[in-house]
Amino acid sequence: MQELALHIMDIVQNSIAAKANLMYITIEENIHYHTLLVEVCDDGIGMTAQQVQLVTDPFYTTRTTRNIGLGVPLLKKQAENTGGKIRVDSALGKGTTVSALFHTESMNMLSLGDINAVILLLITANPALDFVFERRVCKENEIENKKSLVDTRELKQVLGEEISLSYPDVVLWLKNELKEMENDLET
């Protein structure tokens, strides 16, 4: 997978499989330290300490269709290739957080890729679940830090119960919204 966005999508699939209802997807770019932090935090079923240890092993999986699981090991490899690392925190019955730190100046750094397409799909293909997507850009001077956020709980409050996030007009609106969020970060 040649885009970090696809790895993020893959990790979020684990959260969905773990019956999460709410997922925080955070991407923090630090211009000063040349790092990129990606975090996926969910309220799913969580893992035991032993499962947490096993999760970075490609020969461990909870799936039943085949017996290897590559999501977390691939992300780990990508992070380590840049001199970064990953961390998995989990508590049974509470949820799991997967964080990955990348050094953006490394020649092995992946491009973030089309993260907006990933977020749009996650939200519109899973309208019953909630996502908080946050992007932060940290600069040398803290005052210049930028932040943008989409919270589906907020969108659902506006839409009410009868209109789903997968409703055609809403999908197109959200696509545009994510684009504007990105433009906002870049200015």
């Binding site: 997978m1 696809l6 999508m9 893959d10 699939q13 499989a17 799936r63 269709t65 085949r66 699981g69 590559l70 999501g71 691939l74 089309d114 397409a117 990933v118 749009l120 799909l121 519109t124 293909a125 899973n126 943008s148 956020l149 907020e154 969108l155 506006v158 839409l159 009410g160 009868e162 209109i163 789903s164 997968s166 409703y167 055609p168 007009d169 809403v170 999908v171 197109l172 609106w173 696509k175 919204e177 504007e180 969020m181 906002d184």
Partner: protein
């Protein structure tokens, strides 16, 4: 703040939808398009395929069909795999789907009601 302005736009969408008679009593989709989104599917290019389904349905204002994602269906060599499940009909499985094929599936199968036989798993296995 940008979000306040755009939430007003979202509210306008809601009001528009409410006014239209299109909204049905039962919001349950009559047809589901499932795209396999496990590691195998994503790596094989499932994301642009699901994007085509979501956006084509939105652009054409098709409301009784839902494009969604599922896990690994066990046929990783055939990814991206797409299943079309319609109430009262047999499930159709499309394999090695590209964005172009996804568009044709929307046009021929979802809108036209004709299964694109050459894209199905049955054709791929022959």
């Amino acid at each position: 703040m940008i979000i306040v302005k755009t939430l007003a736009e979202l509210k306008a969408i809601k009001d528009k939808v409410r006014r239209s008679v299109e909204i049905r009593e039962h919001a349950e989709a009559e047809t589901k398009i499932l795209v396999g989104m496990a590691t195998c599917g994503i790596a094989a290019g499932a994301r642009p395929v699901l994007t085509v389904f979501v956006e084509e349905l939105a652009k054409r204002e098709i409301q009784n069909v839902m494009a969604t994602q599922t896990g690994c269906m066990g046929d990783c060599q055939y990814e991206p795999v797409v299943e079309v499940i319609s109430a009262g009909k047999e499930k159709v499985t499309y394999v090695k789907v590209t964005p172009e094929m996804a568009k044709k599936i929307v046009e021929d199968h979802i809108i036209g009601g004709n299964i694109v036989t050459e894209y199905t798993i049955g054709a791929a296995r022959q």
